[in-house]
Amino acid sequence: MKKVIVLGATSAIAQATVRLLAARGASLYLVGRNAANLEAVAKDAATRGAAKVESQAVDLNDFNAHEGLVDAAYTELGGLDGVVLAHGVLGDQAEAQKSWEATEAVLRTNFLSAVSLLTVLANRFEAQKAGTIVVISSVAGDRGRQSNYVYGASKGALNVFLQGLRNRLAKSGVAVVTVKPGFVDTPMTAHLPKNKLFASPDKVARGLLSAADARKNEVYVPGIWALIMLIIRTIPEAMFKRMKL
């Protein structure tokens, strides 16, 4: 990935990824909704050695902006060969159970806006017959649990969409990489007590990039989550539904 658009570039995991890409001398088009924070990320990337850094502050839930955003990235960087899609919200499960608006906000950000952006990007990549699309999903999409099934559903739907996209783009030489982090110590989880399973954004970013380099299909980062989720997926539903998870 030499010319990369990063969607949700102010996310902690995205920032760590941007640093690694910058150190490799990549050109970056950074997108986030907070202009001041985005500028801080852009300057950091430029200082750390990115060949070129351009950015655009936009709310990614503004679907009408997506086409223009991708156009701008192509123009500014003279093409694109990589996508890192990172934006997302955790939402509040209790709130979502009470209100459709709260549920919709999570689905809109984590699923619909991703689908809208990937629709535009996939067509470009398919036409150019090259590129790597990396999307940050979550282990939460592997199985619905009462504690966060709205967020889980948004990521689960995303996973299925990405499977289909991967299937479609395989013949065009475009890799679609689904990254499923476990717990990561970022602002999204600032309110949670931390335990040994929490990984640093840097560790997740390294896992993400090595999966992208190897054009993997689906990866759990850190790898231990492949095992944990295997166990969780294997529990029979009749038993699972009675568990407190």
């Binding site: 001041a36 924070n37 801080a40 300057k43 430029a46 200082t47 750390r48 600032a190």
Partner: protein
């Protein structure tokens, strides 16, 4: 509440934490005193805030700019010296001043106005801080520089994190031709010899420091090895690693909480003896990468755990040349007599280059740093005794390495403390600050308890 330690792992206190994420964010309103916390490489309680909130700056680790033609780097305050070296050393720039570990933040380096092996030539870190932004709990932001808000600039350098949060800073680096240091080792037989060799070395060597054998007694008090060096000239540019910021990979790891008996007198004596005799008394010269030269301890991950759960106390003083010989002799003798040997003891001379920081610790004279395994009362009394000796010698103790200095000592060491106090952020405080500025109570404790003349220290328990 979460327990976060200082590097000495003593004292242990309970405090809340708040992670800072963006330099443009406002400070949290916690209702309890705030204190910035970098990498916790200070030893005692100056980076602790019992009952208050630590503002963790590790998320403020972004670079803002770096100009390889001028060597000016601008970055957020949580950027570490290690990160700066990774960025700048391969492009021919080095830190103008560096402490003995690269795992400190720029904010921490400013707040303690840190010094390095080149103090006699370069002064303190604060001298190279061109400007920084200070964010106060009232939400105000000030850019501080020698010619812009100079009073805030002077109060914040060496200001122990108490004037507000430094969000970003601009530092002038210094050019190097390659990452190598030409180093020479000179043994000295006692304190008098040290004073001669150290002063002599200042003329031709940019970097000097000495390891001292803390168990030597009598005529041999203060014997040790002096390390002196300069960055290598350009003819060494072509060597391998020339573009590297590291000489080696990650070093040994000290296993978690080694029991305190690892540090019994015998093992320390053996260590000291070996260390002292390995050079056979002959000066040697060699070429080394800057990494092991400046940061030998960084190769041993979490070495502070070698002292076990109870931690250790660090003591670093500086005494003026007039009193240096006698005072240091006394200090070294006291600590070896106390049966509490110091594991790592370092001697160095400080030059007379003034710092812009009002509360800066370094001043002309000789500085001695020691560490003592924490054995409770006995250790605390020893360190308090060393504090008293330092004060009597007209010297000063380094707050970044202190857990025991008395309020009187603090006032004596830092004559500008009253002026400084006017610049304190009312929303900020630290365990150290409360200890050296005990609150005066509206009644007399002595009268209350009916005891004779209690020292102000007895109020230390009030936090």
């Amino acid at each position: 509440m979460k327990s976060l330690e200082s590097w000495g792992r003593y004292p242990q206190v309970e405090q809340r934490t708040h992670s800072l994420v963006w330099r443009t964010d406002n400070l949290p309103r916690e209702g309890t005193p705030l204190l910035p916390h970098g990498l916790g490489r200070s030893y005692g309680d100056s980076c602790l805030n019992a009952g208050g909130t630590l503002l963790l700056t590790s998320g403020l680790d972004r670079f803002i700019s770096f100009d390889p033609s001028t060597g000016v780097v601008r970055c957020e305050a949580g950027v570490t010296l290690d990160m700066i070296l990774r960025l700048a050393a391969p492009r021919g720039w080095f830190l103008p001043v560096t402490p003995g570990t690269k795992f400190v933040t720029v904010g921490g380096a400013i707040a303690n106005d840190v010094h390095g092996k080149n103090h006699h030539r370069g002064g303190t870190f604060g001298r190279y801080v061109r400007r920084f932004e200070l964010l106060r709990s009232d939400g105000s932001r000030r850019v501080c520089a020698p010619d812009e808000n100079p009073d805030w600039y002077g109060a914040t350098i060496g200001g122990l994190g108490l004037t507000g949060l430094v969000t970003w800073a601009e530092v002038q680096l210094k050019p190097i031709s390659n990452p190598y240091v030409l180093q020479e080792t000179v043994p000295f037989g006692n304190l008098d010899e040290f004073l001669v060799v150290a002063r002599e070395s200042e003329k031709d060597y940019e970097f000097t420091m000495a390891w001292v054998d803390c168990l030597a007694r009598g005529k041999k008090v203060g014997r040790g090895l002096l390390y002196r060096g300069n960055f290598a000239p350009p003819q060494f540019d072509g060597l391998p690693l020339a573009k590297s910021h590291l000489s080696h990979g990650i070093g040994l790891a000290v296993p978690m909480d080694m029991p305190a008996f690892c540090l019994n007198r015998l093992s320390v004596s053996a260590f000291n003896w070996l260390y002292y005799h390995r050079q056979n008394g002959k000066p040697t010269q060699r070429l080394t990468h800057y990494d092991p030269f400046f940061y030998p301890l960084d190769a041993i991950y979490a070495w502070n755990r070698i002292y076990g759960k109870r931690g250790f106390l660090q003591f670093q003083c500086v005494v003026p040349y007039d009193t240096a010989r006698d005072a240091l002799k006394e200090i070294l003798e006291r600590s070896s007599r106390g049966g509490l040997p110091s594991f790592l003891s370092v001697l160095k001379t400080f030059g007379d280059i003034p710092s812009p920081g009002w509360m800066s610790f370094p001043r002309q004279g000789v500085t001695l740093a020691m560490d003592f395994a924490n054995r409770g009362e006995k250790t605390w009394r020893l360190v308090e005794e060393l504090d008293r000796l330092t004060r009597e010698a007209g010297g000063a103790v380094y707050p970044a390495k202190d857990a025991r200095m008395s309020p009187e000592s603090f006032a004596a060491y830092f004559p500008r403390h009253a002026e400084f106090a006017r610049y304190l952020d009312p929303g900020f405080s630290s365990s150290f600050w409360r200890r050296v500025n005990p609150v005066s109570l509206p009644f007399s404790l002595e009268a209350e308890r009916g005891v004779a003349a209690a020292q102000p220290q007895s109020l230390l328990a009030i936090r």
